[in-house]
């Protein structure tokens, strides 16, 4: 995998998180009724940042949860690497809430479909909205994001790698391409 371009740097990631937080508040007319749920692993980190940002703007805590979708994957038997089951940590009732689901990259839409199934087993939210740092296209399911950090047109030969300080030591998003170094 060859690194082709840097799509977002640390400052750009920060600006995306700030803008998405404002958009969430604008769309939901404030913090009331909303909760932020991140998809493990990097979606959870982003969700934490968005929740912090929203709390900073509104001076009010917002509920934050983490969703592990391993058990809901439709490719459990075919993926080559054995998945490790982690905990879902949502310590509040999502019924009647406006759930903002957060992930790092939106691609085929299959991860989001799993997350929707997982959320449906936890309760009946009023709405589920989707926030992603990068939308790279190539959807295989009728799913779209409500809040997007950056739209990046890609080819299927490329991959988008999101690195976040919490798990990777720094903030950046890079575009990689299969091929010889």
């Amino acid at each position: 995998m060859k690194e082709k371009a840097r799509i977002l740097d640390q400052e750009a990631v920060k600006r995306c998180v700030t803008r998405i937080s404002h958009e969430i508040l604008e769309k939901n007319k404030g913090v009331k009724g909303i909760c932020i749920v991140g998809i493990r692993t990097r979606g959870a980190h982003l969700a934490g940042r968005i929740a912090d940002c929203i709390s900073g703007i509104e001076k009010e805590q917002v509920d934050l949860g983490v969703l592990d979708i391993t058990l809901y994957r439709d490719d459990l038997t075919s993926i080559s690497q054995q998945p490790v089951v982690h905990k879902t940590e949502i310590g509040f009732d999502i019924t009647g809430r406006n759930v903002v689901l957060v992930d790092d990259v939106l691609y085929t839409g299959r991860t989001v479909r799993c997350a929707l199934d997982a959320l449906a087993d936890l309760g009946r939210p009023c709405t589920i909205q989707l926030a992603v740092l990068v939308d790279r296209g190539h959807r295989e399911l009728p799913i779209r994001a409500d809040f997007v950090g950056k739209n990046v047109p890609t080819s299927r030969e490329e991959t988008v790698e999101v690195r976040l300080t919490e798990s990777d030591g720094r903030d950046e998003v890079v575009l990689k391409e299969r091929g010889n170094e």
Partner: protein
């Protein structure tokens, strides 16, 4: 760490990482049982057969609930009401279950090694739910899981196992699992119930319950299995209780809080006093709850590994 075994037959063959993987996976599964909708689709379309040649309620129900919370379909076969009565061998029964395209057999059998034999002959996953005096791995895993949850670690813990060590598969599995994770195990029982050479498993032996308790962080009280042994040589009932029963006085004497575990079913007033079983240091019902998470983890891991093997062929 990747789980590669299609079966779970005992803890003796597992390394530390494998045991920790099961415990970690169980920890993630525990949350599912606290939901309003207690179900995840991880084993949707899989069939789990509980094949029980010995009476059991708690283990069978626990496996059944675990499989159902993973969305698997469950069939229960009790030997007394099956073709076993007509003389069918274990292996033939197993082959038939495989021919019915089940994915996992959970086997409880009176002969040590029954699960190992069946696992070797079948392609589908076999989970040992207790074989003779050999092993009962999921019971030990749920005991260890509960201990870890209560005390935060296993490494360096001092665990006393008291009761019929010689005929207990629960004791054997616990000894393998606990020692592999770095706990210090003492077994305590009347001499006649301690098998010769048990020290080779890496445990200390004691015949004085008060002394054993004084050095323990937790005590696992085994059920006196009178139904298994017709000999008259060992102390029964009230005699046993007087010498080895876990009572409030004995626990108090240690001056510390000792966690009390029991695999069930309880013989109140024989191996454990009623007020201890129901008291604040008892985690007996938590063990039952944790058993579901542990069995979910085991069913999930073995069927994952089995599917991987098929797709690799």
């Amino acid at each position: 760490m990747i789980w590669t075994r299609k079966d779970l037959l005992g803890l003796e063959e597992l390394n530390r990482e494998e045991i920790e993987l099961i415990l970690g996976t169980a920890d993630s599964f525990k949350e599912v049982s606290s939901r309003e909708i207690k179900k995840v689709p991880a084993l949707r379309g899989k069939t789990v057969v509980n094949l029980f040649y010995e009476p059991s309620t708690r283990t069978r129900v626990s496996f059944e609930i675990a499989a159902k919370r993973l969305s698997a379909d469950v069939i229960n076969i009790a030997a007394e009401t099956s073709s076993v009565r007509k003389g069918e061998t274990l292996l033939d029964t197993g082959r038939n279950i495989q021919a019915l395209k089940a994915d996992v057999v959970v086997l409880r059998h009176g002969f040590s090694g029954a699960a190992v034999m069946l696992a070797r002959k079948l392609d589908i996953s076999v989970v040992n739910a207790g074989d003779g005096w050999h092993e009962h791995p999921t019971q030990a895993l749920l005991d260890i899981f509960t201990l870890k949850e209560k005390l935060g670690r296993i490494e360096g813990l001092r665990v006393c196992i008291v009761g019929d060590i010689a005929h207990s598969r629960v004791a054997r599995s616990n000894i393998w699992g606990l020692t592999r994770l770095g706990a210090k195990v003492t077994v305590c029982a009347p001499k006649i119930l301690i098998p010769p050479g048990i020290e080779q498993m890496g445990v200390d032996v004691g015949c004085d319950i008060e002394e054993a308790l004084s050095k323990a962080d937790a005590v696992n009280v085994l059920r006196m299995q009178f139904e298994r042994d017709a000999r008259d040589a060992f102390p029964r009932g009230i005699d046993y209780f007087r010498k080895f029963g876990i009572t409030r006085e004995r626990l108090k004497k240690t001056g510390r809080d000792i966690i009390v575990m029991h695999p069930g079913p309880l013989n109140r007033g024989i191996e454990i006093a009623s007020d201890v079983a129901d008291g604040g240091s008892s985690v007996i019902l938590e063990q039952v709850t944790n058993g579901i998470a542990v069995r979910m983890a085991v069913l999930f891991l073995v069927s994952q590994a089995h599917d991987k093997r098929i797709s690799a062929d």
